[in-house]
C-alpha cells in the first residue's frame, strides 16, 4: 500500500486530473500529476500562469474537486482533512476583515472552531509574536502596511496550529524589499514550527531560496515538468542567493520552465 511505502508522506497525488468545464468547453487544468510531499517539506510550485499551480494547491485544500486520480492529505481525502483542520491557507491578498482588529481577525478561525476565550487570547498572542506583530493586536487592518497585513493573514492561518500551511503567492503584491524580509521570516517560522509548507510563486529566486523541493509546472495542460530536491542547507542567510549552488538550481528551474513553454 502507498501508506506503508511512504509513512512520512503528508500529501500524495497519484495521476491526479482536474478538468474545468467552461463555456468554451473543457479545460484541462491538471494532467497526470504525481507528487509526494513529506512531513516538514517546504515545497514551492512555480510556473507561468495557467500551469495549474494554484489549482493544485486549491485541490489540496478541497476548494477544487479533482476529476480523476487520487489525492490524499494526511492519508485522508482533502474534504475529510479539511474537517479535521489539517491546514491553514494564506491567499494572494491578506483579505482581513476591515471591521475586526488584527487580533479579532486572527481570532476568527478560533471562534469558528470553538476554542475557549482564554485559549483564543493565548493563541492570538502567540502567533502575533511568531509573525513579529506583537503589540499590533488592537490595530485595525487599514492602520497597517501591506506587508504587515499579509503577516497578520499568515498569523491567522497559523492560529489553530494545523500541521500544513498552504500559501498561494502570498507576497506577489508586495515590493521586492518587503518580500525579501518576509521570505526570511517565513523560513524562520518554518524552522521554528516544523510545519509542512506548500508555496505557490512565480518568482524563481523566491522558490529557490525558500524550498527544500521545487516543483516546476507548465501550462496547457497543467502538469509537472520537473521536481528538484534542493541541496541547500536548512540555514539560509539572504546572501546564499549569490552562491554557486543557488545559481545552479535557479538555472535548472529556468530550463524547466523554458522546456515547458517550447512544446506549446
Amino acid at each position: 500500500m502507498k501508506d506503508t511505502l511512504n509513512p512520512s508522506a503528508v500529501i500524495e497525488a497519484k495521476n491526479l486530473q482536474l478538468v474545468f468545464t467552461t463555456n468554451d468547453g473543457p479545460v484541462q487544468a491538471l494532467k497526470d500529476v504525481n507528487l509526494t510531499i513529506n512531513k516538514g517539506d517546504f515545497v514551492s510550485f512555480i510556473g507561468p500562469s495557467g500551469c495549474g499551480k494554484t489549482t493544485f494547491l486549491r485541490a489540496i485544500a478541497a476548494l477544487e474537486k479533482p476529476t480523476g486520480g487520487s489525492l490524499t492529505v494526511n492519508g485522508l481525502s482533502p474534504d475529510e482533512a479539511r474537517r479535521k483542520r489539517a491546514y491553514g491557507y494564506v491567499f494572494q491578498a491578506a483579505g482581513l476583515y476591515p471591521w475586526r482588529t488584527i487580533a479579532g481577525n486572527i481570532r476568527l478561525p478560533l471562534e469558528i472552531m470553538g476554542f475557549s476565550k482564554a485559549e483564543q487570547n493565548q493563541r492570538v498572542e502567540q502567533v502575533l509574536e511568531l509573525v513579529e506583530l506583537s503589540g499590533f493586536g488592537k490595530k485595525f487592518p487599514w492602520q497597517l502596511s501591506g506587508g504587515m497585513q499579509q503577516r497578520a493573514s499568515i498569523a491567522r492561518a497559523l492560529a489553530f496550529d494545523a500541521d500544513i500551511l498552504l500559501m498561494d503567492e502570498p507576497f506577489g503584491a508586495l515590493d521586492e524589499i518587503v518580500r525579501d524580509r518576509l521570505n526570511e521570516e517565513v523560513l524562520k517560522l518554518w524552522a521554528r514550527t516544523g510545519k509542512t509548507i506548500g508555496f505557490v510563486t512565480h518568482s524563481i529566486p523566491e522558490a529557490v531560496y525558500l524550498s527544500t523541493k521545487i516543483v516546476v509546472m507548465s501550462p496547457r495542460p497543467g502538469r509537472i515538468t520537473d521536481v528538484i530536491d534542493s541541496p541547500l542547507p536548512k540555514e539560509r542567510p539572504l546572501d546564499i542567493r549569490d552562491s554557486k549552488e543557488f545559481i545552479e538550481i535557479s538555472h535548472r528551474v529556468r530550463e524547466g520552465l523554458r522546456a515547458g513553454h517550447s512544446d506549446e
Partner: protein, 286 residues
C-alpha cells in the same frame, strides 16, 4: 463659511422667488377687492402690503408659513387637536412602526433571496411589482381591508408605511449579503465553517454599508407612506394637509408640508448619524 455660503445663496434665491410668486399669485384677489369697492386699482408700491398678509392667500408668503408653523407648534399645548406637535407625533409613531416592520420584512426577504434560488425567482418579481402600484391608489383599499379585520388606525398606517419601506431594504440587503469576495468565502471554507458562521461573521457585517444606504431611503419612504395613509384618517400630518385643503387654509397646508419636510430631514440625518457611528466602529467608514 465656504460650505455655508452656497447653501445660503440658494436659500435666499428661493425666498426671493417665493415672495415674488406670492405677490403675483395673490394680486388677483387684491385687484378684485379694489374693483368691488370701486376704488382705484392698487399701484405697484401698494401690492406687497395687500398680497403678503392675506387671510386666505393662493400662495402664503414665507413669513406667514413660518408664523403659522411657530404658532401651531409652540403656541398650543401639545395635547390640542390643533397642535402640529400632536399631529407630528401621530405621524412619527406610525412612520417608525412601519419602518421597523418594513426593515425587518426587507432583511428577512433578502436573506431568503440570497440563500434560496427559488425564493429569488418567486419573490423578487413580486417585490418589484408591488412598487409599481401607486400607493395613493392602494392606501384607501388597504385601509378598508385593515378596518374590516379590526386593525387600529396606527396599525393601518404602519402597514402602508412598511409597504413602501421594505423594498429599498430588500434591494440593498440582497446586494450587501452578496458583497463578500470569493476569496473571503473560500477562507471560511478552509475553516470548514458552518453556514451560520458564514452568515453572522461575514455576510451580515459586509452588508452593513448597503443596509444603511437602504435605511436612509426606507425611512423617508416610510414617512411618505404614513402621510398618505393619514389622508384617510382623523389625525396626523396627512389628515392636517387634507383638512387644510377642504377649508381653503393654504397657510395651514404649507405649515404641515414644511413640518413633514423637516421631519424627513431629521429622520434621514438621524439614520446618517447612526450609520457614521456604526461604520466607524466597524472600521468601514469612508
Amino acid at each position: 463659511m465656504k460650505r455655508v455660503a452656497p447653501i445660503l445663496t440658494v436659500l435666499l434665491i428661493i425666498i426671493a422667488v417665493w415672495y415674488a410668486a406670492a405677490i403675483w399669485m395673490n394680486a388677483t384677489w387684491a385687484y378684485d377687492q379694489a374693483a368691488r369697492a370701486e376704488a382705484a386699482a392698487p399701484t405697484w408700491a401698494e401690492l406687497p402690503g395687500l398680497t403678503l398678509n392675506q387671510d386666505r392667500p393662493v400662495l402664503p408668503s414665507p413669513h406667514q408659513v413660518i408664523a403659522e408653523l411657530a404658532r401651531s407648534t409652540f403656541g398650543l399645548p401639545p395635547s390640542s387637536k390643533r397642535s402640529l406637535v400632536y399631529h407630528a407625533w401621530v405621524t412619527i409613531s406610525g412612520t417608525l412602526m412601519g419602518f421597523a416592520m418594513g426593515t425587518t420584512l426587507g432583511v428577512l426577504l433578502a436573506v431568503g433571496i440570497v440563500y434560496s434560488r427559488s425564493m429569488e425567482m418567486s419573490v423578487l418579481p413580486w417585490a418589484i411589482a408591488s412598487q409599481m402600484v401607486p400607493i395613493i391608489a392602494l392606501a384607501p383599499m388597504l385601509a378598508v381591508v385593515m378596518h374590516a379585520v379590526g386593525a387600529t388606525p396606527l396599525m393601518t398606517k404602519a402597514v402602508i408605511s412598511a409597504y413602501l419601506s421594505f423594498f429599498p431594504v430588500v434591494v440593498g440587503m440582497v446586494k450587501g449579503l452578496r458583497s463578500p469576495e470569493v476569496m473571503q468565502l473560500d477562507l471560511l471554507q478552509t475553516y470548514a465553517a458552518p453556514g451560520g458562521a458564514v452568515f453572522w461573521k461575514l455576510r451580515l457585517p459586509s452588508s452593513m454599508p448597503y443596509f444603511f444606504a437602504s435605511v436612509k431611503v426606507g425611512i423617508a419612504a416610510s414617512l411618505v407612506g404614513a402621510i398618505v395613509a393619514e389622508l384617510n384618517q382623523q389625525a396626523g400630518l396627512g389628515a392636517r394637509l387634507l383638512q387644510g385643503s377642504y377649508y381653503g387654509q393654504t397657510t395651514q397646508i404649507w405649515a404641515a408640508l414644511f413640518l413633514s419636510a423637516i421631519l424627513a430631514a431629521v429622520l434621514v440625518m438621524l439614520a446618517g448619524r447612526i450609520e457614521g457611528r456604526v461604520l466607524k466602529r466597524m472600521g468601514m467608514a469612508r
